[in-house]
Structures are given as C-alpha cells and as structure tokens.
Amino acid sequence: MRKQWLKWLLPVLAFLVAFGLGRLDSRLYRQPIGQVIAVKTVKSVKTVDNFDNQDRTTTQEATVRFLNTSRRGQTTTITNQFTYSGTVDSPLRRGTQVFLTKSSGPWRLSNFKRDAIVLALAAFTLALLMLIVRKRLWFISASIAVNAILFTLATHIQTDASRPLVWVLFSGLAIVFAVVTALFVVGWRPVCAVVVGGTVGATALAVGLGYAIFALTGYRDLHLEAVKYVTQSPQLLFFIQIVIGSLGAVLDECSDIAISIMQLDGSGKKRFNAGMAIGRNVMGPLITVLFMIFIAETFAEAVLWLRNGNAIDQTISWVMGLGFAQSLISGFGIVIAIPLTSLLATLAGKKEVAA
C-alpha cells in the first residue's frame, strides 16, 4: 500500500528536476539574462484613476547578477515599477530570472524568463500521464507532436500566400489534422474512414450553418473587429479558430461512436440507435468543455472593460461575444456529428459484413 502511494511523487520529482534544469539553461541563450539577488522598495504610492479605482504603484530597485554572456558574474542595478493590479507588469522577487536589455543608459528589464516553469509543468504533466496511461503516452504525444509541427508549418507557409488561397490552405489543414489524429486514435482500419468522414462532414456542416446564420442576421452584434492578434483579415482568423477549435472534440466523439457501432452485431437500425445513444450521453459535457475554455479566455479582458466603466451588456457583446459564437458553432458540430457518424458507421459496417 505504501508503495502505491510513492509513485504519485514521481510527477513532483519531474517538476523539480525540470524546474532546476530550466533555471540553469541561461548559457543556451545569447540574450543577456540576470538573476535578482536583492530587491528593495524605493517608493510606493496609492493611485486613483478616472473610474475611482484604487491601486498602488510600487517602484523597486533590484540588484541583478548576469548569468550568461561575457558579463557573467557581474552585477548591475535595475528599476522595476509594478502595480497592485499587475495589468502589464509584475513584481521582481529574489531569485527571479529576467532578460535584460540596454540601448543607452542603464540596463533595463525586457522580459521575464519563463522557460523553467513551462518545462517543469510539462514534465509534471508527462510524468502524471505516464503513470496513468503507460505505453499509450507515446502514441498520444506523437499524435500531438505531428499536429503541432503541421500547424507550425502551415502558419509559416501562409504568411506568403494570397488571401483566397489561405482559406483553402487552412480548410485543407483541418482535414489533414483529422486524418492524422484519426490514424493515431483508431489505426489504419475501415473505421478510420468513418471517423474522418464524420468529423470533416460535421465540422463543414456546422461552419456552413454558422456562416448562413451570420449572413441571415447580418452579423448583428457580432464584432469580428474584436478578434485579437490580427495580422490577417479578422474573418479568416475567426474561421480558423472555429474550425480547429472544435475539430478535436468532434473527432473524439466520432471515434467513440464509430468504434462502438462497428463492434456491434444486429440490424442497421439497432446499430444506428446505439450510436445515437452514445452520442447523446457525451454531447452535453463535450460542448461544456469547449465552452469553458473559450469563455474563460475572455475573463481578464472582460474584467478590464468592466472596471473601465463599460456597461455589462456592452462588455459581454464585445469581449465575450466571439467566444460565445465559437462555442455555439462548435456545439453545432458536436451535435451534427452524432447522427452523421452513426449513419456512416452503420453503412460502412454493413459493407464489411457483405464483403
């Protein structure tokens, strides 16, 4: 019994090791990195803004030791200003590692070094997964790695492409994602074709239906200009967000349904109904998973808007509106996939028996 307990310490150990290594990797960087060895508060003043929000702005002076470059070992002093709200700033503590920059005058803080905590949490996650899914972990990681590489490649290619082509490129990419992930989930079997067909079909129908409704209602109260990180047309970015965002959930659901149906014997109707029953059980929670992710992402901005004297309905519509729309269209895909995949799997199963 005691041994059983001990294995759950493995993720914590992985976390600590990765965190330690991440803090020692400064020499891999060419940008100057320093570690805070002492901090003192120079000034701290209360502030009140136009909306009567009370905050506190603190100025601190930190002694920083260089960890890399030819200055390694030397120290310098930087000043840092942070607010209680920390909207765009963050306090320095002893041990904090930061990127430093200097144009003219003294060294300045340019960014926080975050690789150690990112690596540590990734190591924690991998160790935890390994304890639970064991060998399947390699399968799952490989699938995610291949998709990440494909996505990175696509984002690089499309920067040079002309606009209409980009829509086609990302639609094609979504199909490739579906095929690759389905291959990893179910393998090279007839059921794979059903999963891909169900996923692509349901996503296409959902997006088509969504855009039909956009057009019919004239995009009323849907603020595409509120799409963030705009480098392309916001319409295109929103389209990509919807298609890729819902793809995983739809694919998971399709594979659940297809695998179960193809294992069943009996009449076509019985098998179709079994698929519908499985789908009904998972659709609510699946939509909720995506909904919580999409809406939670808008929290910080929504709070900022409200504290800046914006009305609640305006904030919901401008800041959270796109997240709601994205969740709802993903919901279309998740619901449409149920009858579609049940039908495809029932038909495909029959053929297999006949042949």
Partner: protein, 243 residues
C-alpha cells in the same frame, strides 16, 4: 434578432432533435453555465476576491454539468465527489504555475487592445488568471469524471485491472485531443502573429501570452489525468463500503 441569439436558438433546436429530453437538459445546463460565467466576471470586476469567486462558481458549474448530464445517481454522485477533490488539487497547481510564470495580466502583443484603457484598476490580474485557470479546467474535469464513473459502473463487479486500464487510456486519449485542439484553435491567431513577425523559438517559449496559454493547456491535461484515478478511487471506495 441578434446573431448570437439566432445561433443559440439553432443549437437548442439541434440538441432537441438529436437528444430529445436529454438534449433539453444539456441545453439547460449550458445556459446555466453561461449565466454563471457572466456572473463570475461581474463579481470579480465588482471587487470580490477572484479565487473565492472561482471556487464557489466552480463548485456550482461542476454540480450543474454533472447532475444535468446524467440521470443515474450512481454515476453522478461519485463523479461529483471526485471532481471536487480534483478541483482542490488543481487550485494548488494553478497557483504555483501562475505565481512562477509571471503571466498574469496582458502581454506585449496585447498593447494595441489596451489603448485608451486605465490600467490601474485595482483588481489583481494575477488572481484573475488563477480564477481563469481553474474555471477553464472544470468542463474537462466534469466530462472525464462522468465518463469514468459510467464506464466503471457498466463493468460492474467484473472490473479487472486491465479493464480499468482500458477505460483510463480511452478517456484520457479522447480528452487530450479535445483540449489540444480547443486551445490551439483559440490561439491560432497568436501563432500566426508569431510566424508573421518571425519570432525566434526562444522568444516564443518565454513570451508572456504563449507561456500563459501553454500552462493553461497543461493545467487542463493535469486535471483530466488526475480525474481518472481519483474517480476510480471514489467509485471503488463506495463499492467496498456497500459490499
């Protein structure tokens, strides 16, 4: 009619057509959750401690999602207990992750969106991020807990170690795709930004928004991974007590 209400109405019709009574119940749960999330934003903006708001609203979100998505109390009961236990653990992971990553608030890429806003608003965005991190994992926790509990109860007394292992693998494999693409989609615009402006790899890895986003995905994966053995443990305990 506004676009959003038309979309919502269409989803309701689809859910009713495919899910019948269960569809109605799911749609109701979704509506409640939407209201709860809006309420959470309003409370946090109103000055309530973000973490406290997230914990209380989170508890209700879990209850709504689990008890409205399954009618079988033998499934919903242990799923809810396991979800609460996982939520407590996730809070600890989220707090550590957010404190050490300095990812609260807004990043350099957000500068344009912040123009004209007062930034000294008196709400700690570090705590807002902790609340966000917690809330965004809840859907995945509820889904995994319900699926594990339902799977175990279906297996009944014949549940072997191998059978349980199969359930664990299937549920985690499934959840990971949902989470991965969900977050990927949400932040594809940012990735395109990185590519377009030719950010080097090290800069992406240390970027405030990217690091924050990646950590958020990891929180969710950790939550789902922890939910599976936790739910098995809770179901097993109940079983032993009854037997």
């Amino acid at each position: 009619m506004t676009t959003l209400s038309a979309l919502a109405l269409t989803l309701l019709v689809l859910m009713l057509a495919v899910g019948g009574k269960q569809g109605l119940s799911d749609a109701f749960a979704l509506l409640l959750n939407a209201g709860l999330m809006i309420l959470a934003v309003i409370l946090i903006a109103g000055g309530f401690a973000p973490l406290a708001v997230a914990a209380v609203i989170g508890l209700i979100v879990l209850a709504v999602t689990i008890f409205l998505s399954t009618t079988d109390m033998n499934v919903a009961g242990p799923a809810f207990v396991a979800s609460l236990l996982v939520m407590t653990g996730v809070i600890a992971v989220v707090v550590v992750g957010v404190l050490f990553s300095h990812t609260g608030g807004f990043g350099a890429e957000d500068t344009e969106d912040l123009e004209g806003f007062s930034l000294t608003v008196g709400v700690s965005f570090q705590q807002v991020l902790i609340a966000t991190g917690l809330l965004s994992t809840l859907g995945a926790i509820a889904e995994a807990a319900t699926a594990v509990a339902a799977g175990l109860i279906e297996l009944g007394d014949d549940a072997t170690a191998a059978g349980r292992q199969d359930i664990a693998q299937a549920i985690i494999g499934t959840a990971l795709n949902t989470l991965f693409f969900g977050f990927f989609g949400g932040f594809s615009a940012l990735f395109i930004w990185f590519a377009k402006l030719r950010y080097p790899f090290w800069e992406v890895l240390n970027d405030q928004i990217f690091a924050g986003e990646l950590i958020q995905v990891l929180f969710s994966v950790i939550a789902v991974a922890a939910t599976v053995p936790m739910t098995m443990w809770v179901v097993g305990r109940r079983h032993r007590e009854e037997g």
